[in-house]
């Protein structure tokens, strides 16, 4: 009898492994030498990282369903962080420094760094620290955060074309990783990584393509993530072999579908996240703990 041998792809390249955080609860992402979930073809040493988002400021316009789980802690970032870890089992957190927005409260870098330190002290899981995307302000804020939280191996972002130099320098000096963000463009992603790698170790870079929600441009994000992964593995492009982050909670919960009902909102976020994992994302930032639970359940099967 002739046995059927399914054809298998073998890739001779692999995605770099990035380490987030320090100590016992540090988390590794990336490291795979095959496409997502293709464990029959290669090795996927680390499950995708799933982070819950917290904020330095009580959210003003979140859908009630997504605020609900945090209502008792949303005014206190450290308490919010603790609840995410202890009650909702989050293994990574993303702290958004919303207060530093130059068009909003415009809080000082020092203030932002103190809050970050307080949050970092209250939990032992890896922490992603996110600015507002205002290039100049972020470079001051994230540099200050890097210094005040020296040695904690935070993941700082977003690092953009216009401010990568300052943030990368501080991250390097004080021992942190960074998220290089170029919006929906593989060529620009590569460009930024080349520029960063002149002075920054590639194994401490995570790629962010920016991401959109289901029904609101998800397919563009999917294609970009998918193509970056293929450039990395098939073309062995060393400047694309970084783990990929997808950050879409905000976009999901802004949709009218998510605002309509709790169940729909949670599913919207979970399905969006799962889709990006299938595309090749290695790290997700989520809003709703139930979406986190659903995704974790689906990928552990």
């Amino acid at each position: 009898m002739i046995r059927y041998e399914p054809p298998l792809e073998r890739y001779s390249a692999n995605i770099r492994e990035a380490v987030l955080g320090k100590g016992q609860r540090a988390i590794k992402i990336g490291g795979e030498n095959t496409l997502p979930f293709h464990s029959f073809e290669g090795s996927l040493p680390n499950p995708p990282g799933l982070a819950l988002e917290i904020r330095d400021t009580q959210p003003q316009n979140w859908a009630q369903w997504v605020l609900e789980p945090f209502e008792d802690v949303a005014f206190d970032p450290a308490a919010w962080a603790k609840k995410c870890v202890e009650v909702f089992g989050s293994e990574i957190l993303c702290l958004r420094l919303v207060s530093t927005d130059p068009l909003g409260r415009d809080a000082s870098p020092q203030e932002a760094a103190e809050i970050t330190k307080k949050v970092a002290d209250s939990v032992d899981v890896p922490l992603i620290v996110w600015g507002t995307g205002a290039e100049e302000k972020d470079s001051q804020v994230l540099a200050q955060v890097a210094q005040v939280c020296a040695g904690r191996n935070l993941l700082l972002g977003p690092v953009l074309k216009g401010n990568y130099g300052e943030i990368a320098k501080a991250a390097l000096e004080y021992g942190h990783a960074i998220v290089a963000q170029a919006s929906m463009d593989a060529n620009l992603t590569k460009e930024l990584n080349i520029a960063l790698c002149k002075s920054f170790p590639p194994e401490r870079i995570v790629i962010d393509t920016t991401a959109s929600a289901l029904g609101y441009g998800l397919e563009y994000t999917f294609s970009i993530i998918e193509s970056i992964k293929q450039f990395a593995l098939t073309d062995k492009d060393t400047m694309m072999q970084m783990p990929i982050l997808a950050d879409f909670g905000g976009d999901c919960w802004r949709t009218k579908e998510a605002k309509e009902s709790k169940e729909q909102g949670i599913l919207w976020e979970a399905i969006t996240g799962l889709t990006f994992l299938v595309a090749g994302a290695d790290l997700l930032i989520l809003r709703h703990p139930e979406a986190l639970r659903l995704i974790r359940e689906m990928i552990s099967e």
């Binding site: 593989a186 060529n187 080349i194 073309d235 694309m240």
Partner: protein, 292 residues
């Protein structure tokens, strides 16, 4: 390859002003410079010419012909300007351009047999730019049939597969390379032409020449007939004139993915190899493609 100099262009402020003021001096400088640099044709890009289209093109063609004996490639979307120019061309002219889009083919193509001119025919059609080589083939076959019915022989048709910037869509560059190899079978006797500089649009200024030169060699190998190029680019005319055979040979080897002793290459040679790999679609383009 036949080179068509592109520098007489209303996008240049100096040329635009000269045309407006009917001042022949800046035109003379531009025409003579490109002629001396070895161009075979000169492109006269006057844009859509909203004001006095006929009179403007007639003046420009007559003025240019005072300074050069080269044949002209009339580049406008305005059929009135096109016809006025064709009426005064002393040599067989080239109409730049018609496409497969209904309005374009119906207004521009009839001018070719009427004035015994050649015509640039692009693969664009009513649906826009075809996505890949096959769609280009199907689009150009339709347009060719239409052009032949108008009495234009394939020999007078200069097919433009449309070259997009490598920084915009690298797959379109690969589609271009695939498509030009199909032209002899699709349209026996027809010529091919492209806007070469468009390839490097958006790339760092100091590196545009490298992209353009490398691609010129690559498409030349695949049988490209002509290209609209920067008329003052001296290295380009040297490469096209066969003065740099070692560079051409190196690009061929990179196209064939020959094993090369990379450390033995000079900096300049390595740049050509890396650029060929990017243009073949083997390496993802970024503005810093030479730095990795």
């Amino acid at each position: 390859m036949i080179l068509i100099g592109e520098d007489l262009n209303v996008m240049s402020k100096e040329i635009s002003r000269a045309i407006k003021e009917r001042n022949p001096e800046p035109i003379r400088h531009c025409v003579e410079g490109q002629t001396q640099n070895g161009m075979d044709y000169l492109d006269l890009n006057v844009g859509p010419v909203a004001k006095e289209p006929g009179e403007t093109m007639e003046w420009l063609v007559k003025t240019v012909q005072e300074f050069t004996d080269l044949p002209l490639c009339l580049d406008t979307t305005n059929p009135l300007a096109m016809e006025a120019g064709l009426q005064v061309c002393e040599k067989k002219a080239l109409i730049n351009s018609a496409s497969g889009a209904t309005e374009s083919k119906e207004t521009m193509l009839p001018l070719a047999p009427k004035y015994s001119a050649g015509v640039v025919l692009s693969v664009i059609n009513d649906a826009g730019l075809p996505a890949d080589a096959e769609e280009r083939a199907s689009s150009i076959l339709d347009s060719l049939a239409f052009a032949n019915e108008q009495g234009i022989p394939n020999e007078d048709i200069w097919i433009d597969p449309v070259l997009l910037p490598v920084g915009v869509d690298q797959r379109q560059v690969a589609a271009y390379l695939e498509f030009i190899q199909m032209i002899p079978d699709l349209a026996p006797g027809a010529k091919s032409v492209c806007g070469l500089s468009n390839l490097s649009y958006g790339a760092p200024k100091e590196l545009r020449g490298l992209l353009n030169h490398t691609f010129l060699v690559m498409i030349g190998r695949y049988g490209q007939h002509s290209a609209i190029v920067s008329g003052f680019d001296k290295e380009l005319t040297r490469i096209n004139g066969g003065e740099l055979p070692e560079i051409v040979n190196l690009i061929y080897r990179a196209m064939d993915e020959d094993d090369m002793d990379i450390p033995s290459l000079t900096q300049k040679e390595l740049e050509y190899v890396k650029t060929t790999q990017v243009l073949m679609g083997k390496t993802l383009y970024s503005h810093s493609w030479l730095e990795v």
